[in-house]
Symmetry: C2
Subunit: 204 residues, 2 copies
């Protein structure tokens, strides 16, 4: 068995890096080339953000730095550690919660960290890499471990690498790894004129 190929089942044509992005839990042990990692972070860098505040930060560790890899890994919840430990790269994202230009709260801090993460994920897909973003982390443990300052919040965990053989996963995770990807239909979330009224653009 090799890594699954899971292109999205789309109702309209989309770019292949968007349709081929998915979130594996089985990763190949093959290291990620440092120049590719740099391109992933560069892609994140060019995301849009409110007032160009660029509220995103990344704490990154590769397996060839086992001590820091372990320190990032231990900020994930145990379930996520169980599979993410096999990825060659792990990371945490963080958000600066204020606007640098006036010190006021940035309502878009998490939103724009999300935009940067999406860019990173798509650049990964372009290289045949994939990332798995995790809500299951311990943000305060990460704050203590890495000295994250007040006014910043640790947002998410990331496991990153070349997708691997799902045979290495426990039974239940292997099933999820091989299952088709699912999304709500467009008409469930694209509206016109009134909330809940499907836009004519997306009527089936």
């Amino acid at each position: 068995m090799t890594a699954p190929h899971k292109p999205a089942s789309t109702s309209a044509p989309i770019h292949h890096i968007i349709s081929h992005r998915w979130s594996p839990r089985a990763f190949d042990s093959r290291p990620v080339e440092p120049e590719k990692l740099r391109s992933l972070l560069e892609a994140a860098r060019w995301a849009a953000s409110a007032y160009n505040a660029q509220p995103w930060s990344f704490i990154v560790a590769t397996k060839d730095d086992p001590e820091n890899f372990q320190r990032v890994l231990e900020c994930f919840v145990e379930f996520n550690q169980s599979w993410a430990r096999h990825a060659p790269v792990v990371a945490l994202t963080a958000a600066f919660l204020k606007f640098p230009h006036n010190g006021q709260p940035n309502r878009y801090a998490f939103h724009d960290v999300g935009q940067a993460a999406a860019n990173l994920a798509l650049q990964a897909a372009e290289f045949g890499l994939q990332i798995h973003q995790m809500a299951g982390i311990d943000p305060e443990k990460a704050r203590k471990t890495f000295g994250v300052p007040p006014d910043y919040e640790v947002v998410s965990g990331i496991a990153l690498g070349y997708p691997g053989d799902p045979a290495a996963l426990p039974d239940q995770l292997r099933e999820r790894e091989l299952a088709a990807r699912e999304r709500k239909p467009l008409a469930a979330f694209v509206y016109a004129g009134q909330w809940g009224n499907p836009s004519p653009l997306v009527k089936p």
Copy 2:
């Protein structure tokens, strides 16, 4: 003068749809093909989200529906209305603030709306379209205008179309439209081992 071409000045190679995405204020009056709009929304649909909750919604209006176009436009602050009124498409994004599977608050609601918006923006760039996302909106006016339910929050505004001639903009906006795009260097936000310590991956 024609629409500016503003590829990012990158420190590592990134996919052209990521480097060529930018946020114009001058839009061409040319309508956007409905099938392309559908592809943009389909790209948003396939974004990643925590627990696959897909917390994003979009309220979309095209200029051939002038009444609804105006209703969306009037949810933007006046400054944004002044230039966005010339775009052929305007939209609002909204976030569902709870997880559907358990009704608990979704810490990633805004984050994942951001991921969907980033996908939409990149699919737009693939077609030679661009979007300009706006923090400058009146979310509560949008809630009243469109009947956005409790547990949802209106997040951002979007103007969308083919980039246009900056000559149509007032002087100050024209300067910003033509200025080079800027970002913090990678070493300012990619860390290893400790907050603020640049990762060896991104050292210049």
